[in-house]
Symmetry: C3
Subunit: 153 residues, 3 copies
């Protein structure tokens, strides 16, 4: 099997770019995950996976990552992205949720909080804590708001 | 290289949720793949990969999975998702197709059957069998129909 | 951690299909990546990763791949896809960009060139070379244009 990740951090950033993909690329760079190969996952915090905000990811490595983002080319539009990691009160797995939309950062955080709570309720698990990262951006020309939970080893 | 999967199963389920992402999450749970990290793949059944309907996936593990899904927030709308695994008459690889749409389960299954047949024709391979999983859902508030082929070890 | 890829090639192809997914499947086959499981990545060329245009990928294997594609069912519409790999003048990592749209191959290549240049500028890196693969297709019934950078070992 593929090795199960053991560490994670949460991150969020916004950026402008000259194109939609480079706006995304620039937001990844600001979020400290621009020089790796993101493998998008949906979205469980593995049992025992430890929060490590100082993780340094080797350039070009394959990094399983839960993320949400939104790109807009409508000047003045407000966009936001948020991720939340729901930590279990017992020592088993957690749940990761991501959200992006044309809304404020506060609305994105509220949406994430509700989603994580629902995910824990559905699983009959007790929620100890939610780690959140969020970002809000007012588009100048072409902007991207991105939030991510990179999983690592 | 990354290890090539050796086992698989087919699954499909529908669910409601309070948001689009939790509707998806709830459908994953009902399909028995809600507590793992799906890595979306497109979509070949590796040579020798065995059907194992009783597979139990460890929580948080990285699971290469071909899947299709549709989320709708239009009450009354009928949505369906279907996957099909085309098995080769000789002992080489097979082909996985996924489909989702605003249609009945029967239409989704027919679409999948046609797609698998076309994929085999194109490759000049003989089709022995198609394993199908499908689901249909009438949306109440926010619903998701999902079909998946998890690949495992 | 997951093993970091060591080889790559660039490829692009277009095809018709009887459905949108089989048009995509047929384009993958013409691009020589139709019989593997693509794991979509975004999108860095790992340090030391070597160009190998003759790579043969084992059927069913998991292949980290940066790709862009567009599917259209509008007869007569011109669609294009392009990838570009920006190679660094020093021996560190490069950047991969992908693009697809309703435009000519030349426009797609120009977009990719601009995106790779921006990605290098942002990172303060010097661009030695861009390897490009692109394809243009005039849709008959249902067509797909696809460009990809498979990463391998």
């Amino acid at each position: 099997m593929l090795p199960t990740p053991k560490k994670y951090f949460v991150t969020a950033a916004s950026s402008e770019g000259r194109s939609k993909l480079t706006a995304f690329d620039n937001a990844l760079l600001k979020a400290r995950i621009g020089n790796v190969n993101l493998l998008r996952v949906s979205s469980i915090l593995p049992p025992g996976c430890q929060h490590d905000p100082d993780l340094v990811l080797p350039p070009g490595s394959l990094v399983p990552t839960a993320y949400g983002y939104i790109v807009s080319d409508v000047p003045g539009e407000v966009i936001s992205a948020c991720v939340g990691v729901g930590i279990n009160s017992s020592d088993t797995f957690g749940v990761i949720m991501e959200f992006s939309g044309k809304c404020s950062k506060e609305e994105a955080e509220q949406a994430i909080t509700n989603m994580v709570k629902e995910a824990f309720e559905t699983r009959g698990m007790e929620l100890k804590e939610i780690k959140i990262a969020s970002t809000e951006h007012k588009v100048e020309k072409i902007g991207c708001a991105l939030a991510a939970v990179p999983l690592w080893y």
